[in-house]
Symmetry: C2
Subunit: 481 residues, 2 copies
């Protein structure tokens, strides 16, 4: 492929430095991860995007099962009267639920809403299922779709309908509920850091930012390439709030009937957006190797020559035992075009097999993360690829972490904070008095929000960076998706 043509191909993607939002849109569309649908704000997840979701699901589902959680399925539709029971929850979700009013041509006797989250249908069932402390803890998860009628949407990041898992657990004591909430946060951290290669900051949400109806919301916050924060998953300690509203009671060891303590927690298809914006570059996606729908792509070179295609398919069958591997033997595209195509798709390793490679009993490998090219002897291939994928994972994580650290600042000077936020430089660690007034002021002045009070405490001063009064917490602030 000529230099010119190659440039043409790459230049179809808006450089991220020029317009990050357009870069993102170009990437999700051009890599066939997603398409717009005729329904406002609803996306179509195409096979390449869905394949990534399937790997994320599988990595998390395994961990949830290993820790005793079981999957179940609750109805999509919930009667109106159930939404109204928990006041804060109602206020949080009522403005964005969709209402079903008719079945066929008949009007329903009670309106139904499409679940934006399922506390209001799951907790009433728990009140029926749980009798005694022997029935606890109840550790249930569901993988499903939810709908929130959002005004401004972007593929994966914020869509009216999205896919997620929502865990809902019930416990006999406040301590156990808190322990579960934190255990899940740790599982989420593992998913993000060990599978998706995305470093996260774990912390607690402020009262203002917590889930509608929760006592306490834990979050993991990731930093995107443009310095903005992505809330990548949340784990809520719901206290006894929902249990009280829905009469979820159990007979405890001491013979007393008590309300249970519940938790809920979720990660969503938004993580796909997080992967793109953490790892992508101007050549396209970089798929984290452990969840990449295709880990290795084989390109037969000069494959009209005898033996090349046979060898390539033989290789594919061999590699398929250990890896998710595809072969691209389309004859309507040049090798150069395919290099760019698979780089755009972000496949971690590309293998090229041509007549000369076969003669030398080797393949040429190209890493997507470093674009480094090197030969691998044919008989070491399975072992070496495993090592390289691990190395790519580690390198991607390290790069993302360095990027975050470079864009994380410390300041207790409010004027400086406002200036930095104007330029959207990234995260700033500041001291905060804990008042909602300061939180509101920060948002009004900078459009940044308190992302979290990190679990890892730091003391950077005595005074609130906003009002100057006594500081309570170090918080991380940033603009968010």
């Amino acid at each position: 492929m000529s230099k010119k043509k190659e440039q043409d191909f790459v230049k179809e993607v808006t450089p991220m430095e020029e317009d990050f939002a357009r870069w993102y849109t170009d990437i999700v569309l051009k890599t066939d991860m997603v398409d717009y649908s005729p329904v406002k704000g609803c996306m179509i997840i195409k096979p390449y995007g869905y394949g990534l979701w399937e790997e994320i699901v599988s990595a998390l589902d395994k961990r949830l099962k290993e820790t005793g959680h079981k999957n179940a399925y609750f109805p999509l539709l919930i009667p109106e009267s159930y939404l109204e029971k928990e006041k804060d929850h109602f206020e949080g979700f009522a403005p964005e639920v969709l209402w079903v009013t008719h079945g066929g041509s008949e009007e329903l006797t009670e309106r139904l809403f499409i679940r934006p989250t399922s506390e209001t249908i799951i907790l009433p069932m728990y009140s029926k299922w749980v009798q005694s402390y022997r029935d606890l803890p109840l550790l249930i998860n569901q993988w499903c779709n939810v709908v929130r009628w959002e005004k401004t949407t972007r593929p994966f990041l914020r869509t009216a309908e999205f896919l997620w898992q929502e865990g809902h657990t019930l416990h006999a004591t406040a301590e156990e509920a808190e322990e579960e909430t934190l255990k899940i946060l740790e599982i989420y951290r593992e998913l993000l850091e060990d599978e998706l290669a995305i470093p996260v900051i774990l912390g607690v949400k402020s009262e203002k930012e917590k889930f509608a109806g929760a006592d306490r919301t834990y979050t993991m916050e990731a930093m995107m390439h443009d310095g903005k924060a992505l809330q990548a998953g949340t784990s809520h300690n719901l206290g006894q709030n929902f249990a009280k509203m829905f009469d979820v009671m159990f007979l405890d060891r001491d013979g007393v009937r008590k309300h249970g303590w519940s938790t809920s927690w979720a990660i969503t298809t938004r993580l796909i957006g997080g992967i793109i914006m953490t790892h992508g570059d101007n050549r396209g996606l970089k798929m984290p190797p452990r969840v990449a729908p295709i880990q290795v792509v084989i390109l037969p070179i000069a494959f009209h020559k005898e033996g090349v295609l046979d060898k390539a398919y033989e290789l594919k069958n061999e590699l398929a035992k250990d890896f998710r591997v595809e072969i691209d033997s389309r004859d309507e595209y040049s090798a150069g075009w395919k290099f760019n195509y698979w780089e755009m798709k972000g496949v971690p390793i590309r293998l090229e097999v041509g007549p000369r490679d076969i003669a030398n009993n080797q393949v040429m490998a190209v890493r997507r993360d470093t674009l480094e090219k090197f030969a691998i002897p044919m008989d070491e291939l399975n072992e070496r690829l495993g090592e390289i994928l691990d190395d790519i994972h580690n390198n991607m994580f390290k790069t993302a972490l360095e990027d975050r650290e470079k864009k994380t600042f410390v300041s207790n000077d409010y004027e400086e904070i406002k200036d930095m936020m104007k330029e959207n430089k990234g995260f700033i660690k500041i001291m905060w008095c804990g008042s909602e007034e300061c939180e509101d002021k920060l948002k009004a002045d900078t459009s940044a929000t308190i992302r979290c009070i990190p679990l890892e405490k730091e003391k950077l001063g005595d005074k609130c960076a906003i009002c100057g009064k006594e500081a309570k917490h170090m918080v991380v602030i940033g603009k968010a998706y």
Copy 2:
């Protein structure tokens, strides 16, 4: 456990001979597979039922992927105008779709319906995605929820919301579409017979019974314990009907733009009902071993004695490498109670480990299908269990097949047919002229329907059993769920 108590336990289930419908309801509720929800006709699939669904999904998904199908996700909500495009399809589904009219407190500008099936959103996308013959075949599947506002519902068998997979493929020729439709039917047969141990009859639906908008619907029909038919899965050749309605065109090899040929096919959570009604008995469920959420349950006996619990857990960890295994070490229940409990749950193999077994270096095994009890030497356990599970599968399939054959009759005497259907004896093979009049008459007189024109042709006479005119097909008739 005393004989008395054991009888009490079992008698909580209505014997199927007495009232099959109540037997079914008792079983689904008592085994914790399902619960009723506050939403009319919507069920809650509890972990034991959902675990079975997960195994079914995994068995089918693997086969679909091996044959080149890829998963994707399309929106739950579809604009009203899309439903109206295919006339037959609209007439078939409009009476039972649910309508979304409001988002928050605002009225939507166009009503949306909740997908009862997704042809009307998927085909419009295909018209955008497909340009030339090189883009074909397009082989896409989705796992999702759908809603059909049914009046009469029963857990798993007919519910307003249910889970399913729906495949939607597009092809360049009529032949390829037909080939795909039949390939899927064969994959479904494998799923039913080789995984769920349910024998099926493959055939074509009559014009009257085919899918709204299809050229031809293939079906697999299974017989339940009560002699009624369960339509267990369908594969539709949609011809060019939907492609024409939604302008799905491609540039063919010959340079001519043509409409594509589409297919769609589905199996649903109804299969769980099919498993229960094919294999269950008055002691409860019998889970087909290959999809059983729990294949082996270990019951430690007299486990206050030293070493018993340790040995049981050691065994569990060893078996967990090859099987889905659970241990029941609850101390609030007697061994006898647990025997009945796990029989009710239908776990294929129960292992008992007590002090004497440990001394003899063996375990006692009980098969759920035959209730046979025998010792297995500890060091042969993994190998023997694999063999026994296979044998249970084969035995369950054989038993179900024999049961179906016993309840399948041949008749060309309409009076006899009416009498047999009054007693609901099972399937009857009859000759049929092919007219809708005879089909309607049969239904009016007997409430039986033509289940299918079997792919395996038989000639049982020259004349239609209903009108006496020249016969076209041998058909299987029966009452259906």
